[in-house]
Symmetry: none
Subunit: 404 residues, 2 copies
């Protein structure tokens, strides 16, 4: 547990300073065999390099050594919430992401449309990745025909392609439930079972719902059932404002990242439709009374998953080109980091530390470039993700001295 403990009650105070937190999703990489350079080292980033030369550098650990962070834990860590302590299920994250009005006590899960054969075996775990439109049509059909259990409200909300959010609202629900996804095809789904007595009523209820859904979708050829994952009960977190005196706003294209941001009390009013649009939104919001601006850039991670080295390099360069517009706003603190590494050679999230830059007038610069190796020797050193917010607060003049 590395959650932040401020040593004094009144260590955080209001100050008219602005912090910009730029997250390049999956930023960290591994060296290309033919050049020995990582994606970030290979990218031409004159603006990030210039910023690095006026920044404290370090290598950030989102969770703990060897642990690969998902997007939720990775971002929670950057927001100053220890992701092991503040462990929220995928279901709640998804619900927050699609903007469902989720309330304390609600249980949420991620449902994936799947194709079942006549014997009830899973033949496609993602139902051929239906279009968003097709998914919306089938979800609407389910919602129309599904008989609501007594005293409980069951809601399905399409997320993207095969991904659907399940929200259950009622008294005395529990989320200690097993997942039904068998993680392979040609077999039946796992049974949905309670892992604790407090979740048994919920398990029974959801078994009936999943069974009813199969009946309702019996005439559908492809999207004819669901696999359920990531059950979670929603308990709201203390907000960024409560913990750190920060009013935050998120500028993120994808629902998941807005969901994590909303979870910690950020506003998420602007949804950019492009990489450039992210900075348009920042400029538009700059006049408003916010302390922390969280900018999310997704493409680095996507190319990492695709194993597309040059694509990830290009995605970094695209963000680099936007840096002058951000520095022109003269934030008090600029942080550039990632929520985890997604090395293109690895094609998945990884446990490697993430190169991180913190710019303010009080930085201790050590290098002229932004990259894994230049960050290794930096003044921030090897920091935990949750140490970033206290450092940002300090550099922004928002912490009072501890003791005389």
């Amino acid at each position: 547990m590395t959650d932040i403990v401020f040593p004094d009650r009144q260590v955080v105070h209001d100050a008219p300073s602005r912090i910009v937190l730029i997250v390049l999703d999956g930023l960290g990489g591994l060296p290309h065999p033919s050049t020995g350079l990582t994606e970030l080292e290979a990218a031409r980033t004159p603006n990030l390099d210039g910023l690095a030369a006026r920044s404290s550098l370090g290598m950030l650990l989102p969770v703990s050594e060897g642990i690969t962070a998902g997007s939720g834990p990775g971002h929670l860590s950057l927001f100053g919430y220890d992701p092991i302590h503040f462990n929220i299920g995928r279901g709640v994250l998804s619900a927050l992401g699609v903007g469902v009005d989720i309330r304390p006590g609600d249980v949420a899960a991620r449902l994936n449309f799947a194709t079942f054969d006549e014997a009830g075996r899973v033949s496609d775990r993602r139902a051929g990745r239906p279009s968003d439109e097709e998914a919306r049509r089938v979800v609407a059909k389910v919602m129309e025909e599904l008989e609501q259990p007594d005293g409980v409200e069951v809601r399905l909300v399409p997320e993207k392609e095969h991904r659907v959010v399940l929200l259950v609202r009622g008294e005395g629900l529990g989320a200690e439930l097993t997942e039904t996804d068998p993680l392979e095809t040609g077999v039946e789904p796992h049974p949905l079972e309670a892992l604790s007595q407090g979740s048994e009523v919920t398990a029974r209820l959801l078994r009936r719902v999943l069974s009813d859904v199969r009946d309702i979708l019996a005439d559908e050829g492809v999207c004819n059932g669901f696999l359920a994952r990531g059950f979670a009960a929603y308990e709201p977190y203390p907000t960024l404002n409560e913990r750190f005196g920060l009013r935050g706003t998120a500028i993120a294209k994808y629902p998941m990242y807005r969901g994590v941001a909303r979870l910690v009390g950020m506003t998420v009013d602007r949804i950019p439709d492009s990489v450039e649009g992210t900075v348009d939104a920042l400029e538009a919001l700059w006049g408003e009374n916010q302390d922390l601006y969280f900018l999310h850039f997704k493409d680095t991670d996507t190319h990492g998953h695709d194993g597309n080295f040059d694509g990830k390099v290009a995605a970094i360069e695209t963000v680099d080109a936007l840096v002058p517009r951000i520095t022109a706003l003269e934030p008090d603190v600029i942080i550039v980091t990632g929520d985890h590494s997604t090395p293109t050679l690895y094609r998945e999230h990884s446990w490697h530390r993430v190169p991180t830059l913190l710019h303010s007038p009080w930085a201790r610069p050590t290098a002229e470039a932004f990259g894994e190796r230049s960050c290794l020797g930096g003044d921030l050193g090897r920091i935990h993700g949750t140490e970033l917010i206290p450092l940002a607060l300090a550099h922004a003049g928002r912490l009072v001295k501890f003791g005389a």
Copy 2:
């Protein structure tokens, strides 16, 4: 909580070895815009550089990332006491600093002489910084005329200029009290209120005392009342000897630092009157049976607060010139560090890590100079303040092996 836990009960044993802990107050700095060098990097320090070449180097964190340490927490950390766990109030620190005989259960506070106008508003929060002599005169007047509350002893002891220590002794006292300093002029002081039921009697009693003092000083033009801060009850700490088998002695000119040293059980018999006098005292004490010699040098911090880059550089060079006299004594371990950073560009204590050198025959040297950037890559790496004493004990041959 990073307090030290030794893995074995008998891990500390007596050994005829001596450790010198040299603290340059506020040592850490930030690079000067025109040279890119910090105060320590800019200073000509042939002796410290020579020592660094035979030392393990590192960057020390007094409290936690982003947290700016006051002098009390900063020194406690260096002495091996986690300052968040061992959180002592300013009042107790001040009382220890002026050498008051403070006992368990006593409540202490820092009083500042202030000037009140006829309407009872604060017109000068420090009463024009009276001379020590003037402060002593007014305190004596108060002590002579103040009627002691029943069963309670109230004592005022002048500290320096406007600073006075309040000591309250009696049964069932509490220190959970609000401060009266409004932190601005032209307004009335805040009321002194209890934050818990156990402190209500004390609150009532001290409100009466502060009111009586105003009556007694009604004819004084300048020092005509007090503002009260930093209430704290005194609970003695386990000593350095109890925790680490170390008999320590402090050589410090200023009361505050002797106070923290006394708090952890150091003797504080020698009070040097100059920078050179600090080493005179060390030489005089060297024959005595001590294990840890704590030398405090204040000027680096003072110049940092004044924003005097060259002054801080010169203060470092002055200490550097004394190093040969210290090494000539052949201590088993020499540590040079600071209790926090006070960058001249920042003009205040800051949260930045502190360059640190640990010299012994068992060091792993990595650089030929003592500075922020040379320490970044050192063998000690990024250590927490409380890790220094275990390292010193190890280098001094005072720790037995853990396990076979």
